[in-house]
Subunit: 107 residues, 2 copies
Amino acid sequence: MSTPIPGSPVRGSKSGQPIMALFDLLGRSWAMGIIWNLADRPKTFRQLQAVCESVSPTTLNTRLKELKDSYMIERTDSGYQLTDSGREVLELLKPLGKWAKHWSNKF
Amino acid sequence: MSTPIPGSPVRGSKSGQPIMALFDLLGRSWAMGIIWNLADRPKTFRQLQAVCESVSPTTLNTRLKELKDSYMIERTDSGYQLTDSGREVLELLKPLGKWAKHWSNKF
DNA sequence: GTTAGCGCTACTATTTTTGTAGCAAAAGTA
DNA sequence: TACTTTTGCTACAAAAATAGTAGCGCTAAC
């Protein structure tokens, strides 16, 4: 699967509307989970494998590539970490964490 | 694929942490796109097929079932529409729309 | 120089998603 | 009333994504 790029056709928009490109990127398996798990500190490949319990190395690696290509994460000596952009997205995702707890009462 | 239920094992959390259940739900193809496209008004099955250009009826139908089972949408005489919960999630997703435009300048 | 950990890649099996066709029921039309 | 159209899906096979397992090349420590 190729990295969704705003302006080029993506899932949900032939013209590549930014929001649809973002949904395409974040809507792939583990994408949001990876960002979420990088919240506190950088993590190595194996650490990410550990926290994302059932992710296959294949998927983890392609997801990391896509997130790098989208300027969400970068690789440093201490492992993968969020970029400024990634951190901004994380801040936007955080409210979902609180909301999810409230939502879980419905079940 | 079964609907992710907070409290039961989901992708990203064997114990079913609410946020991971939500990520599992929203991280499936077209889930966020469907919610986004129901923002302004209810839509019929065929209308959703039209706005989600390349979604197959199979996937659309399973996604709709999952979103119904998760109390995000409901079916009425005028079509599928967001529930109060769905509208709350939409409000949390909206900032991503604005952010995505800014993000798209990086490409 | 052996051991241990790391970041992956290779490969196959399984699951998801697509793409196309079409059916049964409802709704409009004459 | 009969006929056509539209709608909400289901069926089915093909394609694509993901999982699962094994292990390789590298680095660093002992």
